[in-house]
Symmetry: C2
Subunit: 245 residues, 2 copies
């Protein structure tokens, strides 16, 4: 196994960082590595807001649900799906543009994720740690106002970057057989595989908490789908010009 694959397999989220700052040259290299990711039809449908202002960092930490490391890490990024740049470029070239299609939302969201994952891996390859912040979608309207995001641009997630001040264990993943299927989707065996994974996760939580956290994967998922997690997203996106049509 080569060192890049070893790096990928060793990923875990970092939420505690030292005071050390990422040098600017390295920071720019991480972003360039992000730009090298595949992009649908070369659209590059993303923008990154690099949040430097400490007061805005504190506000974002609160908006993301009180995640203090958003304010404390060396660099905080908000990755935005951006259909403004490319549609305006095509418009200037004379195209009669259609905006807001669901396909455009997907293209921009996927482009943004591929790019961010390259930034993440580049960062880890330099000994940095990171944590994706989906909590940026808890209140995407307030985030958009703070970052002055225009129509056809929406904040997909944030990312904390910095030098790790913790060494958490790697979190187990679902059995390979559960997520990899040959030729056709079938999940006859999935309840059994999930039960097996529930055991794995229970042991993981118990070991990490000295026996205090007695739960499993399925239990941990329950609040995610019962509380209508982020029920505002459809209306928010429509308000930003993504029509979901």
């Amino acid at each position: 196994m080569n060192s890049t694959i070893e790096l990928l397999l060793s990923h875990r989220s970092i939420r505690k960082f030292t005071d050390q700052n990422i040098p600017r040259e390295l920071f720019d290299t991480l972003i360039r590595a992000g730009q090298s990711a595949a992009t649908s039809n070369h659209v590059q449908a993303y923008s990154i807001i690099h949040v430097v202002n400490p007061e805005n960092r504190r506000k974002l930490a609160e908006l993301a649900g009180g995640q203090t490391y958003v304010a404390e890490c060396s660099d905080f990024l908000v990755f935005c799906a951006d259909m403004k740049r490319s549609t305006e470029a095509a418009e200037r070239a004379g195209a009669d543009i259609v905006r807001g299609m669901t396909e455009q939302l997907l293209v921009a969201s996927v482009d943004t994720a591929l790019m961010a994952q390259n930034v993440a891996i580049a960062a880890e390859s330099e000994g940095l740690g990171l944590c994706y912040i989906g909590g940026i979608r808890n209140n995407p309207a307030a985030v958009s106002e703070l970052l002055r995001l225009p129509d056809h641009v929406y904040p997909v997630f944030g990312m904390c970057l910095g030098y790790p001040d913790q060494q958490p264990d790697v979190k187990p993943r679902l059995p390979l057989e559960s997520i990899l299927k040959e030729d056709h989707y079938q999940d006859d065996n999935d309840a059994a595989l999930v039960a097996q994974f529930d055991d794995t996760m229970r042991q993981y939580y118990l070991a990490r908490t000295g026996g205090n956290k007695d739960t499993n994967w399925s239990e941990q998922l329950k609040p995610l789908f019962t509380s209508k997690l982020r029920p505002h997203m459809a209306d928010f996106l429509k308000g930003k010009g993504f029509k979901l049509k």
Copy 2:
């Protein structure tokens, strides 16, 4: 610059492959590397269909718009956003589930993209080449039928994997200043930066085609947004239980 960052910066799509097959052990390692990517709340909202059947490969090549390398590469994967497994697990654990929220569509699409990008990087680190196939969304209903995808699962994109039989140049990317913004979104300078990038891309196309392809980035984007690219996606997703609500 370390070798992993050099690898990321050297990415280009490969559409021509040798006859050599990827060993099964390496293939499984690539998928495990994919699973190691960050996942929203540990949901792991994805499934991969590994399409082995040659007849299905030919059909998918056609459905993706006549992309013959879908049939010819060593391994072809369809990456699916999957909200079925996790919601059913939470349901078995006693949760009263809400399905189809737009937030769930985003979580699953982003999880899938992060995972796929790890597979891509792991593959490239082993000297393999790859090409994302967004054309899988040209006819997602037919793809879903062929792969027997159930409700709450949708095909986001495909990926061709194999040993490269071509060495295309790295494609230029937008200027860093165009996609990286400090504290606030602003694009006052964007038309100028895009004009600069249009020049870069014109030179790139001319050099690659011996002067025959005289176009630029903005021109190439025009058909993408005028033809209402994939206008079926919203209705297709709704039919699959993603309510866009």
